[in-house]
């Protein structure tokens, strides 16, 4: 019973944090590990919660008319294809190489944040896509590693 409660409350916290900012998995992943799931199962199962929370928040945002539907395909295409590519790449790359990819990704995010103090104007679509695809490939590698 305590385990069920822990899962529910963990999902609640992770869903809340994921919607407002990100990194709600920092709450939910340790709960799965604490309950004795293997890192692989924890990582895979955690995606169910991410999906449920994303659906829930998307419904609220859509209801408020806040979603830029016109550009949704531009975001979906590179992220989903990157995710699949990343999953295949993660199987193929040795762990040492993966670690370097992850360090590169975190350093890149720091550079992005520092550069972002002066926010860029909306970039042309093509430029975003060329930037977005390899970036999203990295994203999923990080997601895989998170397990």
């Amino acid at each position: 019973m305590t385990q069920y409660l822990l899962l529910f409350i963990g999902g609640l916290a992770a869903g809340f944090i994921n919607t407002l900012a990100s990194s709600g998995s920092a709450v939910s992943l340790p709960i799965f590990l604490f309950l004795g799931f293997s890192p692989h199962v924890a990582n895979a199962t955690n995606r169910l919660n991410v999906l449920a929370a994303a659906c829930s928040s998307a419904i609220v945002f859509a209801h408020q008319g806040k979603i830029d539907w016109g550009h949704a395909p531009h975001v979906l295409a590179p992220t989903v294809s990157g995710a699949v590519f990343g999953a295949l790449l993660a199987d193929w790359l040795p762990n040492r190489a993966l670690r370097w990819v992850i360090i590169l990704a975190v350093v890149m995010s720091l550079i992005l944040v520092l550069a972002g103090t002066k926010r860029f104007l909306r970039a042309p679509q093509r430029e975003y896509l060329t930037f977005g695809w390899p970036q999203m490939g990295l994203l999923f590698l990080v997601g895989i590693w998170a397990g």
Binding site: L7, F8, G10, G11, A13, A14, G15, F16, N18, T19, L20, A21, S22, S23, G24, S25, A26, L29, P39, V41, N43, A44, R47, L48, N49, V50, L51, A52, A53, A54, C55, S56, S57, A58, V60, F61, K66, I67, D68, V75, L76, T79, V80, A83, V106, S109, L110, V113, G116, R119, F120, A123, Y128, G132, M136, L139, F140, V142, W145, A146
Partner: protein, 100 residues
């Protein structure tokens, strides 16, 4: 091992490289989250790595938490706090990586 959530990068990319504000980036992050997690679940389910009952139970909480979060995310006042939360997350991750 937990590393910086991939959605943090997505949020940063949408805001800093594409030029969305926080609310706009957050809504597209939710859309991308649906697509990416669907793809991931299909891949992982194929390897029989998904614990459906535990995941389903957590998802019930996730739906409720995200619902409240989404209602809050739209308000102007929350923006500052969301940005602070984001900076804390990234700095925390870098500190942890240097520590190792």
């Amino acid at each position: 091992m937990i590393v910086l959530d991939s959605y943090t990068y997505l949020l940063l990319t949408l805001m800093l490289a594409v030029g969305y504000d926080l609310v706009g980036a957050n809504t597209l992050k939710a859309i991308a989250g649906i697509g990416v997690s669907c793809a991931a679940i299909v891949l992982f389910a194929d390897r029989a790595e998904v614990a459906w009952f535990a995941g389903g139970l957590m998802s019930l909480g996730g739906v409720a938490g995200a619902w409240v979060g989404a209602k809050l995310a739209a308000s102007e006042r929350s923006k500052v706090w969301v940005f602070r939360l984001l900076v804390i997350t990234i700095v925390g991750e870098i500190v942890r990586m240097v520590w190792r």
